[in-house]
Symmetry: C2
DNA sequence: CGTTTGTTTTACCGATTGGTAAAATCAAAC
DNA sequence: GTTTGATTTTACCAATCGGTAAAACAAACG
């Protein structure tokens, strides 16, 4: 157990304040583009005080990334092989879109990490994400083979769901510039429903 | 004319060497995460020698971004209102996917800039990208109204094309981890063709 | 040759980087 | 209310940051 549970309330509170500030900064500038001073100011603490709660800049980043990936894969985990194929896949789409709306910073943190070559999260990708995707891809393939949905590549289906839902979080600046004030997620939800429904059932 | 054409061959060659190195570094680490020393080493030049050809780190970044956006919007520009709607849209998809394969660094450079809030390219977004998207969205809307394609939100259609094609460049590490060696673009081309064809014609 | 122009290197600068030492302060238990 | 441990601040450090000055070098040209 390398991370003993925080003892006091102050530790609990300050650690979460720091992680929240770190999420703000890392999600915008990536690991190398972020500074401890930025995070400290955003957290309302002094820099040495940050380092009283975390041993290093990297420790904050790693803790954010690791707690992220679990949450990130939950919706995919929830895809039920025994449910109705079309509704299961569409439910996954909507859950993923909802996460992009609720946790845009987490989405951008992940995007930054992947853009930089996943130096800190690669092991979790091969040992956590890949097996899960393989498992769910097999489920989707079975649905295709048994004629319950159209015959499509399950991997690219999953990629396309990731790409389109995360796009609304990661490229929010661009999206809202083009839409000029309108709420992107409203329209996105309807559009994605139509898109994937027509793909799976046509 | 703030940028006089380079006079000598050495200038022409070194400027392009520097821009190429800058593209390597900036596309991976973003503006703030990149250093002049990194770019200099990647270019095989000394840092002061870099600054002989470019006045600052930012100047390299800006020049990369500006020359990028033109190229980036070309495929959308090429969408012909008088062509066959389905084929025009699909041609756009394939052109965009081809660009993601040929110019993944440019895609990641752009992604980094947007992730960081588009601090250096926002004007070009509102003055260049938005009007073009509005124009093409109107074209697509006309196609919908006249029954040539199904009734869909043209803005979200365009977003989805961007998201899915650029995903293969921006998230290349993740994609190739999951696919484990297979060429992503082969399957992506077929999948995207099926996806958008069924959306537009079903 | 010498001169001029273009190019590269050496040496350096102040500011900021991630991180540390240790004193000062605070909080809670005794 | 004092003692003990948790917390915060002050002062600092070596390394790296973006950038500059100026000398050294190279090339073209008369």
């Amino acid at each position: 157990m390398p991370k003993p549970t925080p003892r006091t309330r102050i530790q609990e509170r300050n650690r979460s304040v720091i992680l929240n500030a770190g999420l703000d900064v890392f999600s915008q500038f990536g690991f190398r583009g972020s500074t401890l001073d930025q995070i400290a100011e955003s957290a309302g603490l002094s820099k040495p005080n940050l380092l009283y709660y975390f041993p290093s800049k990297e420790a904050i980043h790693v803790e954010l990334l690791e707690s992220l990936l679990e949450t990130w894969l939950d919706p995919l985990h929830a895809m039920d092989p025994d449910g109705d194929p079309v509704e299961e896949i569409l439910a996954y789409v909507h859950r993923k879109l909802e996460m992009a709306r609720e946790f845009p910073r987490e989405s951008r943190l992940f995007a930054n990490e992947i853009l930089q070559g996943a130096p800190r999260i690669m092991p979790d990708l091969t040992e956590g994400l890949k097996p899960l995707v393989d498992e769910k891809a097999a489920v989707i393939r079975d649905w295709s083979k048994s004629g319950k949905i159209k015959d499509i590549d399950p991997y690219h289906l999953i990629f396309s769901i990731w790409a389109m839902t995360q796009h609304y979080a990661d490229f929010e600046v661009q999206v809202s510039t083009v839409l000029d004030g309108a709420d992107p997620f409203e329209g996105a939800s309807k559009y994605l429903d139509t898109l994937f429904r027509s793909l799976l059932t046509a």
